[in-house]
């Protein structure tokens, strides 16, 4: 993998993790029973996808 493609993957994983963390922060304000589901299903999935992409990128570089 070239440095250029590694950087692109790092950027994509950064976008995914940041989006997930933003969702997680928003759900902390939301006093509704669905907040936890949004936190874990949406925020957690985005964060996990970003982290896995990051880990895959560095081990395959």
């Amino acid at each position: 993998m070239t440095a250029e493609s590694l950087y692109k993957r790092l950027q994509l994983s950064g976008v995914l993790v940041a989006a997930g963390l933003i969702v997680e922060v928003v759900t902390l304000y939301w006093g509704h029973p669905l907040a936890f589901l949004a936190f874990i299903l949406l925020g957690g999935t985005l964060v996990a996808a970003g982290m896995l992409l990051y880990l895959y990128s560095i081990v395959s570089h």
Binding site: L10, G14, Y29, W30, F36
Partner: protein
Amino acid sequence: MGIRALTLLDAGLIAFTLIAIALIVLVALRPGLTAARGGKVLAFIALFISPVVATWIGTTNHLEHSKTTSFCLSCHEMEPYGRSLRIADGDYLPGGHFQNNRVPREQACYTCHTTYTMFGDVQAKMQGMQHVFVHYLGSIPENLELYRPYSNRECLHCHEGARSFEEMEDHVDVRPELASGDTSCLECHDTVHDVASLDELEMWEGKTE
């Protein structure tokens, strides 16, 4: 859509998450930083360590919030059960416990309606998920009932060993049956949430949480 009152811990978590996002933005805008050793460490902290920590603390935070009375009563199906905590008659078990601080008012529902076993917390959360599923995708029964008979274990978790329980004449003879579950506490203490009679009962006007 309700807005939660944030605690100091919530504010700390939000600040931590915002710092994590700032680090992620830095790595995403300047990925060339990761060519150096320090940049690699920065990327690992931003893209792995900090999201894991934020998600872990956030999960704990949500689970703790889900134990609160206000959380349980945020579903309108639970509204009459919340009102029953204010029935001004000590013979009504929920009201008697709630108004006399026999259970923490901010976790009144959870204290009695969790199972005191190794995985009781997890079981309670799974049932909460089931409630959400039924609320949005199922049909809500007209008369709400417990999934299984109320266990004496939940009562004895607090009352066993208490002088007021142990020395009460009516309890002495049936203690073995209460411990084994052959006699339910609710056979005698049978006035529970009685939501059908709420409009006819006097209500306590004191503070709730």
